[in-house]
């Protein structure tokens, strides 16, 4: 199963530290020392703030990824419990962004690369669960209210098992109330 990062709207205060953390690990710490206009600020998760809720939304690393199915050039693939984009292959056709029901994919400028006519080259950008980054997803680590967590197969499987046992226990108690505490 692919892993994913999940935000808890009860804990999130909408401070956007996760977005900064995301850009810092993907761009490098040098962004603090250079002109802010000289690099692309492209967080891979989006803070949503409405009257009802504040929480970041990011890729769910689906098991049958709609983005992967929509990609005409096979630039999206699954590896090491995650869905990844090969930006070298990406043609920026936006088919993945259209296919994703969560709005988890952005099409962003890639610093330093241009198209043949000199216009900006833009490619798909989304959460890669901090692939090859020591310590795992930066958003989880930097959140000051611990509103984000990485969900693994074990976590989800364990939670399901626990809920099923609870459901079975409740069903049993209905038939055998005398055994209840």
């Amino acid at each position: 199963m692919n892993y994913f990062v999940k935000g808890n709207p009860d804990l999130c205060i909408g401070c956007r530290t996760c977005m900064i953390g995301c850009v810092v690990v993907h761009e490098g710490k040098h962004i603090f020392e250079v002109d802010p206009d000289s690099y692309n600020f492209n967080p891979r998760l989006h803070m949503v703030k409405t009257a009802k809720i504040s929480v970041p939304v990011q890729c769910k690393h689906c098991e049958n990824p709609a983005c992967m199915a929509a990609c005409p050039v096979q630039a999206i693939y699954q590896e090491d419990h995650r869905v990844l984009i090969n930006t070298d292959k990406c043609i920026g056709c936006k088919a993945c962004a259209t296919a994703c029901p969560f709005g988890a994919i952005d099409i962003v400028s890639l610093a330093g690369t241009r198209q043949a006519d000199g216009s900006e080259r833009k490619v798909a950008n989304k959460c890669d669960l901090c692939n090859n980054i020591a310590g795992g997803p930066a958003c989880v680590r930097v959140c000051p209210t611990q509103a984000l967590s990485l969900v693994t197969e074990e976590d989800l499987g364990g939670a399901m098992e626990k809920k099923r046992m609870e459901a079975a226990r409740n069903a049993y108690m209905e038939i055998h109330p005398q055994n209840g505490g």
């Binding site: 056709c93 962004a97 709005g103 043949a116």
Partner: protein
Amino acid sequence: MKKELGSFVIGDSTKCTGCKACEMACFTVHNQGSNHVGKTVGTVTVPVVPRLFLTKFEYGCMPIQCKHCENAPCLNACTKGAISRIDNQVIVDPEKCIGCKDCMQACPFGAVTLLPYAKDGKVVAQIGSNETRVFASKCDLCKDVPGGPACVRACPHEALRLVDPEAEREEKNIKAAEALLLTKNWR
């Protein structure tokens, strides 16, 4: 930061009946000016060439048109510089196109096809031959057409829609965020 992505039109095969009204509307609006195409068939003196292509496949039909890619293979493949990004859309200059077919091969959607080029109400001949000059025909999102993409407006079944990728992503983000309220106690 404004992302400034190219908009595009997509078809819905669950609604499309294959009537080709989109293709006709596309041809009409692109040939009203220099080719004097009017409201009746009698005014048509040039080949009917659309910029989107009604496509029949195993499970139905739908028009296929350009996605205005942000790292456009057609644009990058065009050696002649006949394809460029203008106001975020990928636009072909038919005057510059030499019909080399590279863009056709580069596009993974089949959204560009070489079709006869007409001007001033008649087809243009090649220089040095009597054959008809062709150009890479593809969607330009009706950039000079008041009211926006004619295909979207012409479809009797609302099977075509104009996508603003940024706005659509934000809308989906909000829905995804609100859905988190339902799963927050998943443990």
